[in-house]
């Protein structure tokens, strides 16, 4: 069996039925004689290919395979690979390479790729022989899953794919270790007078909402969403939920200072955005942190960290916590507040109105992919997230991820509807993904929140340099016809300039079983950032 055939067998052994790629010359040996059972999802640019695979891997909860083209393709993909690394998304990345027999003369597509790839991978390797290829892929599969998870890259010289393959013994590894110290932590939580919880992305990634809700109710304590979290770690309509912490350290400390014990469950503690001068001292508050990611714990603000599965940790804690009788407050006021705010901003197509209307029209089981940037905090407040696995965003602020990730997520979750809510600026980094969405007839509702530029940057400019916004170039993007762009790639679209447009177009979009893009002319008011 040659390596080419062995790779396909290896894919099928791992039940990998989808490979994402954008080929060049070096990928032809990889693609010839492609089996019908495995879909090759073509993306039109490598950053989109990686982002699609990122979404697919997160939504399918297994590593996804990406096929990149040598040094030009790796170069294009670097930003998206960095997002995947920061997202802790397991990807097996194959990168084409010139035939090894003329590397010494550095042919057109050659590059010393392993060092590049290593900066955005958990592991990277260029096999030294054909026999090495499948064992390298097998190792990459496990390296990608190794906590915290991320890309593992294998560089494939063209000629190796024609050589004889060698199989290596395959193995299964359970990385969800039980963290030590739960007995002590339970004692600390039981003794706390005013405990609080912060739920991060790992809760959602490990399907641990039920444990998170159980722990919160047993402690009868407030729950905060981790700042800038890539996933929603707690149902945002639960009566104990207090909203998302602001991504500013002084604000986080201020919000958590009323509590004597704070337990951060999953994700970093804490991911922040702008620097604001202020103390990082916690005062009387003691912070504890559970994560399966040693790096998160190494840079944590917590006094004590526990490394291991957050799901297992919470299950263990629940057996040791003395449950309180929760006095759950009424939750109807959440909806009422949003309804009033939406009505107030309706005439101006304000953000509260637009997001409320989007939320009212989306089916309850919808998966939301959020690249709305300046609207993201409001989106997570207004839209209902009552089922786990319903919210995705890139964890590193990279733009151009959302549309492609939505495609990957829809491929992985064909039974649920997907909505991508994307800023106009962000969408233009990844508009090619509409082609893949149309090509595969993915019924994604794409909402472009169009405020004509990089509003988050305008907000930041106003906060850091008040009065200087008019003389700051490069923040406005106008004259883009999103509907025609969408139509040119096979996606139906419409422009919503007023409330009645928005209301009927959302109904139209959701009733369609085809992809649909709405260009929503949202009020361009610049929100206050700090």
């Amino acid at each position: 069996m040659n390596v080419r055939e062995a790779i396909k067998e290896w894919l099928q052994y791992h039940h990998i039925s989808v490979v994402f790629g954008n080929p060049g010359s070096t990928e032809i040996p990889f693609l010839v004689d492609w089996p019908e059972e495995i879909s090759y999802i073509l993306g039109l640019q490598e950053s989109q290919v990686v982002a699609m695979a990122d979404g697919y891997a997160q939504a399918s909860r297994m590593p996804a395979v990406v096929n990149l083209h040598s040094q030009p393709g790796l170069g294009h993909a670097m930003g998206a690979l960095m997002s995947a690394k920061r997202n802790r998304t397991p990807l097996v990345v194959t990168i084409g390479q010139e035939d090894s027999r003329h590397h010494i003369v550095e042919p057109l597509l050659y590059g010393n790729l392993a060092p590049w790839a290593s900066t955005v991978s958990q592991w990277s390797y260029q096999p030294t022989s054909a026999e090495d290829v499948v064992p390298a892929l097998e190792r990459a599969y496990h390296e990608a899953r190794r906590p915290p998870g991320g890309p593992a890259s294998v560089i494939l010289p063209m000629n190796y794919l024609n050589g004889q393959a060698v199989w290596n013994p395959r193995r299964e590894i359970d990385y969800h270790a039980m963290p030590d110290g739960m007995e002590d932590l339970a004692g600390i939580l039981n003794a706390a007078k005013f405990p609080a919880l912060v739920m991060g992305d790992e809760v959602d990634k490990e399907d641990a909402w039920a444990q998170a809700v159980g722990l919160a109710e047993a402690l009868d304590c407030p729950v905060f969403g981790a700042p800038l979290s890539m996933r929603v770690g707690f149902p945002n309509r639960h009566p104990l939920y207090q909203g998302i912490l602001n991504p500013v350290m002084s604000g986080i400390i201020q919000s958590l200072s009323p509590y004597d014990v704070v337990l951060v469950v999953g994700g970093p503690a804490f991911l922040t955005y702008p620097y604001i001068p202020g103390s990082r001292e916690w005062g009387q508050t003691r912070v504890y942190h559970i994560s399966s990611d040693p790096e998160y714990l190494a840079r944590s603000m917590a006094a004590q960290g526990y490394c291991g599965s957050v799901r297992v940790a919470m299950e263990t804690l629940l057996t040791k916590i003395v449950p309180k009788e929760p006095e759950l407050p009424e939750v109807e006021l959440w909806e009422a507040e949003q309804k009033s705010a939406a009505a107030r901003e309706r005439a101006d197509m304000g953000s509260d109105y637009v997001l409320y209307t989007i939320g009212q029209n989306m089916p309850p089981d919808t998966i939301v992919v959020d690249e709305s940037v300046s609207h993201s905090l409001l989106l997570r407040k207004i839209l209902n997230f009552t089922r786990q696995g319903s919210y995705y965003t890139a964890s590193n602020g990279a733009l151009g991820w959302g549309l492609a990730a939505a495609a990957g997520i829809q491929l992985a979750q064909p039974g649920r509807r997907v909505m991508a809510v994307v800023g106009d600026g962000a969408s233009l980094y990844g508009m090619q993904s509409l082609w893949a969405i149309a090509e595969h007839r993915l019924p994604i509702v794409i909402v472009i929140l169009n405020n004509h530029g990089y509003t988050i940057l305008k907000s930041l400019t106003q906060s850091l340099y008040p009065g200087h916004l008019p003389a700051t170039p490069g923040l406005t993007v106008q004259h883009v016809n999103f509907v025609r762009l969408a139509e040119s790639m096979g996606v139906r679209g419409s422009k919503a300039e007023n409330p009645s447009d928005l209301e009927w177009q959302l109904k139209e979009a959701w009733s369609s079983r085809e992809p649909y893009l709405l260009d929503v002319q949202v009020d361009a008011e610049i929100p206050k950032l700090l």
Partner: protein, 321 residues
Amino acid sequence: MNFTVVLPPSERVAEQAGLLQQLLAGHRIAVVLTWEEQAQALRTTDILVSTAFVPVTREDILSAPQLKFIQVAGVGVDHVDLEAAAEKGIIVAAVAGANAESVAEHVIMSTLALLRPLIASHGNLKDGRWDLPSWMAQAQDLAGKTFGIYGMGRIGQELAKRLLPFRVTLLYHDLRPLPPDQERLRGLSFVSKEMLFQGSDIISLHLPFTPELYHTIGAKEFSAMKDGSILINTARAELVDPNALIVALRTKLLGAAIDVLESEPPPPDDPLLQMPNVLLTPHGAGVTLQAQNRIAQDAIQNVLRFLDNRPVDNVYVGGSS
């Protein structure tokens, strides 16, 4: 036709009486100000133009053999014995909505005056006390508060419309919820009566009074209200148990604005008069100059409809006999 017109206790009585004489030229007009005068005039009256300040009792109606039509110059008809009117085949109509804007403005004024310690601060300054520290310790914004409206008729809707720009959350309770589209456009959320009292920072009453609603706001409702919340009553005094209100004002409410009292004017020993966190007005929320004109115009228009045998607006008792 013989008319009896009861005028409200306004300083503009003479002016209004003159206007009526012009509008109803050719008819005999008796202008009265008190119940005694009304009782006397009713014996020969065909049409009574009534106001809430002078009751129309069963005895009054039974002693008015010619009476065919009672037009209330106001929005409420509970000062009229409707049962007796129905028995006698007398049509009773009122004026709907003419004072809605005025009451809505009054509620907002009262809310802001209580959230900022307006009256106390004004008094302190007049007494020579510069009370900025006290003001700073008490003054609150309306923005961000949850406002509960009990009764979503015309006044409730006018109030909601005016409150929305204040950046408040609007809750309401009514026997008949608005259609969902109306709620969405107005930013209103229907909640149970219990939730209204639990969830609101300010509650304003805008429901009509019926005997079943006597003291419907009592100890149970006040105990559900938030600490530091506000009650506003511009509807009917009988809706609120005054003893429970006084206890709540002493123990948990920030304040109350009361425009309607069970005894008007109140006796000098009414405890509400002594409470520093009560804002009292003389049943005048709905009778601004503009509202008086609107009420008068609408009432007269209805009388003219009756005289012309056209359909009468806002009929409470049909007069079928």
